[in-house]
């Protein structure tokens, strides 16, 4: 309190030779009993979440940190090829399996190994799942939204269309690649492999995808999307067999 008063006095007397400064009560100190009671009630609450932890996209670092132990119980993710991603923005196209929340665990895993937040495209925009996914790092699968994140130097994970067979790469939406071309951001392809029951999961990131031909028009993203799907399929083939988490089923699925 005394420090505050001294600061005010010295500031005020810079411009006036004789000034009597009335000490101000701190803003946090209520003057009325009701205010004191409210403050007493809210004091325990006030220490729960003392600092803002959401960033400009709504990703909540503390929320992610709180969920990660549970995520580790479900997935034990091994990430390879992370050295291909530079320090700036990048678009990472991943293969996804139905009902596997692939984009979520892949973005968290890549974020862990790179030591920086990674966004994933494809959060819903309905309560309550939309806000929760946003806090987990989700952004809308909207070209403008992806472009905005890439322009700000963020890494964005975009899923190909989900398939029931984890060894098969789904189609890639060219409209979601177009922001990367527009913002001159490298596009990477990553193959993912996980099981429905087991914890083991694998993410393998390929080097930057270079278009085979330079196009000026919309063919650029269409061809790059097809190229990405082929590259993703190659990576999945290299990763090996289907993993169900159960030995016998896995063996049968090998066909």
């Amino acid at each position: 309190m005394s420090t505050r008063r001294e600061q005010i006095t010295s500031k005020a007397t810079e411009h006036a030779s004789s000034v009597t400064v009335v000490p101000l009560t701190p803003a946090t100190e209520p003057r009325r009993p009701l205010g004191r009671a409210v403050q007493a009630v809210t004091r325990p609450v006030a220490v729960v979440w003392p600092r803002p932890t959401v960033d400009e996209w709504g990703r909540d670092t503390r929320f992610v940190e709180a969920l990660q132990p549970f995520a580790r119980l479900r997935w034990d993710v091994t990430v390879g090829g992370q050295q291909h991603i530079g320090g700036g923005a990048a678009l990472v196209l991943i293969s996804t399996r139905r009902l596997a929340m692939t984009a979520v665990y892949v973005s968290w895993a890549i974020g862990d190994v790179l030591g920086r937040p990674v966004r994933f495209a494809g959060r819903p925009d309905t309560v309550p799942f939309g806000p929760w996914m946003r806090r987990a790092g989700g952004i809308l699968a909207h070209p403008g939204e992806i472009a905005s994140a890439l322009r700000a130097g963020e890494i964005v994970v975009v899923g190909a269309s989900a398939t029931s067979n984890p060894r098969q790469a789904g189609t890639v939406d060219p409209t979601l690649i177009e922001p990367a071309l527009r913002e001159h951001v490298p596009v990477h392809v990553a193959a993912t492999m996980n099981t429905m029951i087991g914890r083991q999961a694998r993410v393998e990131i390929a080097p930057r995808l270079l278009p085979k031909r330079a196009r000026r028009g919309p063919l650029a993203e269409v061809e790059l999307a097809e190229q990405a799907q082929r590259a993703m399929q190659d990576l999945l083939d290299e990763l090996g067999g289907n993993r169900t988490g159960l030995g016998v089923l896995g063996w049968i699925a090998e066909g």
Partner: protein, 329 residues
């Protein structure tokens, strides 16, 4: 560039007064005049102020054409429930836009128009971008958003017709200890409602930074829109906790009751603030530095803290210091 005549409409508002204050120290400003229905809130040394009701089109036209400005900074925008209720805010903003922008268009020296717009112009419809940039579609979903969209249209039309440049400075919610803002009033209530299921993030901008951006847009002669927001974001819950207020979690139907009750406490919740508490309000301000040569550095959390650090009013007589001479408050 030197010796420019600058007209500030809405000079009586907190933001308009700050803009005028900053313009007084700009070397390129030759003479400075202002129009508003209320007198300025700051001591202005160089500016000439005209107290005119925006609906008095004749007087506005006379005053503006006599001054013949090179640059018009149009800050005469009434945010719903900030100083007047929503319907009146729309009427005043529309009449000010027509009379002042119309009068400015009649001035032969006019070169540049800057209008104060708002982030609410993008709307928060389901599926709309979380952080729209300047190229995002204008799709307002609140009354304030519609007001801002209409204002930008009037300004762009006027600028096109007379062949001058027009800039729209789309500000995140302007908050400050002295800014009459429905969001600021709501957050300062002892108990603050928030959407427990959504609790989306939002960003704000400090009044000084908003004024700085408007002045910068006039200085560089920006043509087109620019988003201006503070870095970082907070959720309503985090803002409430930072201010040591009582968080009142709401789910849905009880919002109607909360909005009515908050009116009784002197802090009505207009639809754009309710929308912000449900759907968030973020904009991509990444281009401000390139376009204006300025980007706010005060973070959203710091702006929220300054809102709560507003010192209480001290009654000198109650403290027994009334006879000690001068006093500062």
């Amino acid at each position: 560039m030197r010796g420019q005549r600058v007209l500030v409409s809405g000079m009586g508002s907190e933001l308009g007064s700050l803009v005028a204050l900053q313009l007084e120290s700009e070397p390129w400003v030759g003479s400075l005049e202002g129009i508003d229905v209320d007198p300025p809130r700051r001591r202005l040394r160089r500016a000439t102020f005209h107290r005119i009701d925006p609906t008095d089109r004749g007087r506005v036209l006379d005053t503006v054409t006599r001054f013949d400005p090179h640059v018009l900074i149009h800050v005469a925008v009434w945010e719903p429930d900030a100083r007047v209720h929503t319907k009146r805010a729309r009427e005043l903003t529309e009449s000010a836009a027509v009379s002042i922008l119309g009068a400015a268009a009649e001035c032969p020296a006019l070169q540049h128009i800057v209008v104060r717009s708002a982030a609410e112009i993008y709307g928060r419809r389901r599926g709309s971008p979380t952080r729209p940039d300047e190229s995002a579609m204008i799709d307002p979903t609140s009354e304030f958003g519609h007001i801002a969209a209409a204002l930008e249209t009037v300004a762009a039309t006027a600028a096109t017709r007379v062949g001058v440049t027009a800039a729209a400075v789309r500000l995140a919610p302007v908050v400050g200890p002295h800014v009459p803002s429905p969001l600021g009033r709501l957050l300062r209530l002892p108990g603050v409602p928030f959407s427990v299921l959504a609790d989306p993030p939002f960003a704000v901008v400090r009044d000084f930074d908003a004024a700085h951006a408007l002045v910068a847009a006039a200085r560089v002669g920006l043509d087109g829109p620019v988003n201006v927001t503070s870095p970082g974001a907070v959720t309503a819950w985090q803002a409430i906790v930072r201010g040591r207020r009582l968080p009142i979690p709401l789910v849905g139907p009880e919002w109607a009751i909360a909005r009515r009750v908050s009116v009784l406490f002197g802090a009505p919740i207009p639809d754009h603030v309710a929308e912000m508490l449900h759907r968030g309000r973020l904009i991509d301000g990444g281009r401000a530095q390139d376009l204006l040569g300025f980007a706010p550095t005060t973070t959203t959390a710091e702006v929220i803290d300054s809102l709560y650090a507003w010192p209480s009013v001290i009654h000198v007589a109650r403290l027994g210091l009334a006879d000690t001479g001068s006093a500062a408050s």
